[in-house]
Symmetry: C2
Subunit: 247 residues, 2 copies
DNA sequence: AGCTCATTAATTGTCCGACAATACTACAAT
DNA sequence: ATTGTAGTATTGTCGGACAATTAATGAGCT
């Protein structure tokens, strides 16, 4: 017989510690929001040295299962939502060069049907959040008060996120997140080159909100499609190449 | 004057070390494939203790910028792939309860236009990979030879991944990944309940491949839409609720 | 009691040094 | 050419230490 035995993988201790802690967070025996036990206590319970625990903690930290509240010392258990994907996306895109063309094409595909779903399924709370997001962008980008570029693009992305919440589909929300991660740097490069950009965004968001509120799926889809087309137009008006890499 | 100075964030050393190393990997001054310098050497260069370096290395490791080749001691610089998102998705979904309905709706939105793009833009290499994926599923799921359930669903997901490669849009590939992560457990629960499921998948994949090869975008989209509808039909035939959580 | 402030305890970040286990290398022996 | 051997390099883990800083405690005051 010709048995190919595969190389058994021997994991270092810090990885096992990380796995143990991860499991206890995911199965909620360490519930979200509580303070982590002190490192030395973890070390005692698990029978390893504190350094080993610390290496494991760094793993959980970069995985987003632990976070340190501002200026606080002890770390807090947290459950990552859609932003868990964000880090991964950021890493993945640092390799492959993504152009605005790519981002735009993906948005063209995903956002209009998402707006449609949002119109059909929104609930009072999610609709309110959507309206708030639109109102905030409108207020911050009126003629009299124009907020900084980076904040503006974040608000644009937030509008899409609220729309995802209206659509009430966690899978879509996850799928949308890569686009939004990349939309921000894309818009960032363009928005100040085109004077009328902010005003057009305000209008589009208003129309979309109205359609969603009226549960008019077709109209929501169409206005969203127009909104997305405007992004491309903005690039063309700014004289920027659609193929140049974002970020 | 009313200067509100915001709380400056003092980052711990291990984080700065991680940032420094990350930068040197991303700007390719530490090119992919090379061995990392020894920890003690890094510590010397950066003027910190080895423990601090190690904590930083854990961060890079979980970020996928470093990997340890099987049973090897020194770590190797590497480039993160699309599956960087996978971990994040898995964690995010362990929290919110996702139903097949959600997965199905997202696929309905994303996959048909993706097939369309694949038909338009595939290159010889990516087309070959797509054909191979379809051929592999066909061979493994013929009447005479039926492969295990988990392998079958993985091959189904792989077909979609190859299609994503054909579409040649990294953003779409990233957006699609959450769906595929969730498609596998969804299919896993269904595929053996419906005798004709595998045969129907074989047919659908064949049609899609043919359409893509012929650069017939409309046909690719339509067959993909049919393919996706079949998944839902499979659930109904199996008498399973669309609303029950997957995984 | 409730509040402010000083004092103490607890906790993290970082360091030092050490050692066993093992992967890597060079070289000798079969 | 493979196998064995010795030596080195490197990682994984450990014990302990200490300064800086946050959290907790209690004293004093209203």
């Amino acid at each position: 017989m010709n048995v190919e035995l595969e190389p058994l993988r021997i994991e270092p201790g810090y990885r096992k510690v990380a796995a143990a802690l991860t499991e206890r967070i995911l199965d909620r025996s360490l519930p979200a929001g509580v303070h982590m036990p002190p490192e030395i206590e973890l070390a005692r319970q698990l029978g390893v040295h504190r350094s080993t625990v610390r290496e494991a903690l760094r793993e959980l930290e970069t995985n987003g299962l632990l976070e340190r509240r501002r200026g606080s010392k002890r770390m807090v258990v947290t459950r990552p939502a859609n932003n868990a994907v964000a880090e991964g996306v950021r890493r993945a895109l640092s390799l492959s060069d993504v152009s605005f063309q790519h981002v735009w094409e993906a948005m063209t595909m995903i956002e209009p049907p998402l707006a449609e779903a949002a119109a059909r399924r929104h609930e009072p709370a999610s609709l309110t959040a959507l309206e708030d997001a639109a109102a905030q962008f409108r207020a911050h980008n009126a003629d009299t008060q124009v907020v900084g570029r980076s904040e503006a693009v974040r608000e644009v992305a937030d509008f899409f996120r609220r729309l995802g919440d209206c659509a009430a589909n966690p899978v879509l929300i996850l799928a949308q997140e890569p686009l939004l991660q990349l939309l921000e740097p894309s818009l960032d490069a363009m928005i100040d080159q085109v004077p009328q950009a902010r005003a057009r965004i305000v209008t589009a968001e208003r129309r979309i909100v109205e359609a969603v509120r009226a549960r008019d799926a077709a109209s929501a889809r169409d206005w969203m499609a127009k909104h997305i087309r405007d992004f491309k137009r903005g690039y063309e008006l700014a004289g920027m190449s659609l193929l140049q890499p974002v970020g």
